[in-house]
Symmetry: C2
Subunit: 332 residues, 2 copies
């Protein structure tokens, strides 16, 4: 076997916005599975917003990627060789093996993919983004039938699932997205009740019309003026899940939430969260999401980049809002 | 009996900051208790920040005071005449009778004052401000022994109790107040571990030194740059009780929280609240607080204005930060 590994490493840290030059493609020998480990050939790499943070030399809830190390990321693939009793060659698995063609994981760190769903969906609607939506919406917002739920970045990998879960819960669901194409996708393909383009000049008027009974739950991925506009229509006892704040990234002077009194007057709860804190919820969430996908109740769209060499540009596209649905890299 | 009632009514709505000219003192006949009601002679009137909001023609969680109506407010006094079986003349009671010498209440709206505590304390540490601190700190922040709790407006009627409850819970407690005199009161009389003057030029450096293990719980009454500085030292899984945002009142361009990412990265919960939502907690809170006051575990300071005619200026003093501890009006 002369096959070699292909990997993308972090070559330098961004100064200002990241560029493709911050990454470097390298070849290397195949990794070898030790006792209890499994060698996986990755077929799919998930591209996610959190990766932007790992490029920086800032310790938050996770360590940064070291210079020269393989970029981190969720992957889905097929077992090539196994020294763990639960896995055999050919098994479809999801893992956290990073931006590379082959990787080795402890058996306990692998997740068997439900055979009813495509392998790539284990990285999207039935993977980390889906679980993020599931925990953030169902556990933290606890939407009730008849309530109004607003989801920002509604066409993205997380927002698209959050909104569809809210619809399944019997809520009126309004998405916020950037541009008419994304909004059309959100209403026509994903079945949201409405979707607003936050770039529209009359966005606030559109919002007022779209939530005639006010807003009971916000699943927010963006922060900034969009969230502020939503808070302006908030109902008493509303819940806000703070999942992301993409408007603050690479923004030297964000404005955030300029008034807190509306949060007090309306007794609003805001909850920042990281899906990795909720590991005990992953199995039930993934089983639930896989069932919804298999039954067609949750639909998804994938934006594909071809080959690991295209991964850096795929991340930049995601951060710039140019991808629709789940951004993936197909690894040939 | 020729005694007449004396009352302060809202004469006009403020344009910009309120002034004493927005109020009018009036005389009138004594109110009469109907069946099931009680006539109370008020000896104490509580002056509280929420009154500022009721002067405006804005419906929030409560109706505004109508022009010409008696200003609302908590009162403590003695029963004069009772047509309710649970009360007899001479009973010490607390009620919500507004800015007037005499008032009539349904028996069910009266609260008997614990004889172990002075009547005025039923408006302060063992009244609405105390319950606000109790619910906001114990129910919403849930501080654990060894954690660090920061309380803003620490010398005020609510903050002073919140901080002492946190001390009783075994926490390190840091107060924030305006000026050296208030800070001395907070540490020396109230027993906080430290108190910082938010007006100090090196406030942020002082804060860093005062919370060496970061902040687990914030009981906030002010919002704005002070809260933002506290968020800058927040620990993972911290809780923030949003009780007030006095910095936003009469401020045309507040800056609020400019960055939400720290709330996400640290999985912070912010909870706006209104103590009136938690009526089921009042009896246990008041019993607990009365016991702490009677045992000397919770101390309090009162700033007194003499006579109902002085009530408007007392409210302005409170809003301007010129009162220390609980602002009261004594009604002769």
């Amino acid at each position: 076997m002369t096959e070699r590994n292909l990997k993308v490493v972090l070559g330098s840290r961004p100064e200002g916005k990241p560029t493709v030059d911050n990454f470097r493609v390298e070849e290397g020998p195949l990794p070898v599975a030790a006792e209890g480990q499994v060698l996986v050939r990755n077929q799919w790499l998930s591209i996610d917003p959190y990766m932007r943070g790992r490029m920086m030399d800032i310790r938050t809830y996770a360590e940064p990627v070291a210079l020269g190390d393989v970029m981190v990321g969720d992957t889905a693939g097929v077992v090539v060789a196994s020294r763990h009793p639960d896995f055999a060659p050919g098994d479809p698995v999801a893992a956290y093996l990073g931006w590379q063609r082959f990787g080795v994981a402890e058996g306990g760190a692998l997740r068997r993919v439900d055979p009813r769903i495509p392998l790539s969906v284990s990285l999207g609607a039935a993977g980390m983004p889906g679980v993020t939506a599931w925990v953030g919406l169902l556990d933290l917002c606890q939407p009730k039938a008849g309530e109004t739920v607003v989801v920002s970045a509604a066409s993205g990998g997380v927002g698209s699932v959050a909104g569809q879960l809210a619809r399944i819960a019997g809520c009126r669901v309004v998405g916020i997205a950037g541009g008419a194409d994304k909004c059309r996708h959100v209403t026509e393909a994903l079945g949201f009740d409405a979707c607003l383009d936050y770039r529209a000049e009359d966005f606030r008027q559109q919002l007022k019309a779209a939530v005639p009974k006010g807003i009971d739950c916000i699943f927010d991925n963006v922060g900034g003026p969009v969230l502020e506009a939503l808070i302006g229509r908030i109902n008493p006892f509303a819940r806000v899940t703070l999942c992301g704040a993409i408007s603050e990234v690479d923004n030297p002077s964000p404005t955030g939430l300029r008034r807190l009194l509306p949060l007090i007057v309306n007794r609003v709860k805001l909850q920042g969260f990281i899906v990795g804190d909720h590991l005990e919820r992953w199995p039930v969430a993934i089983a639930d999401l896989s069932g919804h996908v298999a039954a067609g109740r949750i639909r998804y769209h994938e934006t594909l980049a071809e080959g690991l060499e295209a991964a850096p540009q795929a991340l930049l596209d995601l951060l710039a809002g140019r991808s629709l649905g789940k951004q993936l890299v197909r690894i040939p």
